[in-house]
């Protein structure tokens, strides 16, 4: 269990119902932080999108023992860092994706910064997002 860096670490099977579990965990975290409802809504939506990507795209061959996703969160003084990680096939172009392709742009729009790590040559994907806790407008990098 590599869980000793971030304040909150959650690992769950990559199943649709566990997206809501991750969302609830982040909601609980934000409940304990001095942040606005708009920031909380942005965090929840971005994390939901990132976790949904893990469930839909990371494990095309189905659920094995290691078909999991992890959420790590680390609140700083003015910023919340969130990492969503899977151990699946990584990011690659997928013309047969069942989604609309809006997930990653939405994450980028909602977060202050976002970084994607992983790819076809690397097992797994990490989405590293930061959110401004004192951003009352909840605009992320939109303005």
């Amino acid at each position: 269990m590599d869980d000793d860096v971030f304040d909150v670490w959650l690992r769950v099977p990559a199943r649709p119902e566990n997206v809501a579990l991750a969302r609830q965990a982040l909601a609980g975290l934000c409940e304990a932080l001095p942040t606005s409802p708009k920031v909380l809504a942005d965090v929840k939506l971005a994390v939901t999108e990132a976790c949904t990507n893990c469930v839909v795209h990371a494990y095309p061959n189905g659920l094995g023992e290691d078909a999991v996703f992890e959420v790590e969160a680390d609140p700083g003084e003015n910023e919340l860092l969130v990492i969503v990680r899977d151990y699946g096939r990584g990011i690659s172009p997928n013309t047969e994706s069942p989604g609309l392709g809006l997930g990653l742009p939405l994450i980028a729009a909602l977060s202050r910064t976002v970084e994607f790590r992983g790819g076809t040559a690397v097992s797994g994907t990490e989405v590293i997002m930061s959110f401004g806790l004192d951003d009352d407008l909840g605009d992320g990098n939109r303005g």
Binding site: D4, L10, P13, L21, P75
Partner: protein, 123 residues
């Protein structure tokens, strides 16, 4: 990894209660616990979050939650030696006694090479 299982590690302090409570409530609902038992499970989470600091090695509460039909099992640990007893003692209230035993249907202690585990079952 069994499908209805969540592993959670959270730093002791003000974050532990809210995070643990939300995760436990969600899994208790998924296990179809009745509302009074769901509340008991959430109270167990709050009790563990509030009383674990002296029972863990590195300032982090680690808990694995298993949701099965009509029951929830919480596995807290690894803990330091006598960590389970420390949590139970810290969670003892005058006039009420051992809060964990009041809320959970079963309270057990197990050990392996990593340390001690406090197992709580609600359902």
């Amino acid at each position: 990894m069994p499908t209805n299982r969540a592993e959670l590690s959270v730093a002791c302090g003000p974050l532990a209660g809210p995070v643990l409570g939300r995760v436990i409530a969600m899994l208790a609902a998924r296990a179809n616990l009745p509302i009074d038992r769901l509340n008991d499970a959430v109270l167990l989470g709050d009790t563990i979050a509030a009383n674990s600091r002296g029972a863990v090695r590195d300032g982090r509460v680690r808990i694995t939650i298993f949701a099965v039909s009509q029951a929830l099992e919480l596995r807290v640990g690894p803990l330091v030696e006598d960590g389970a007893e420390r949590i139970r003692s810290a969670a003892t209230l005058p006039g009420t006694g051992d809060v964990l035993s009041r809320l959970a249907d079963d309270v057990r202690v197990e050990s392996d090479e990593q340390g001690e585990y406090l197992l709580l079952e609600v359902g």
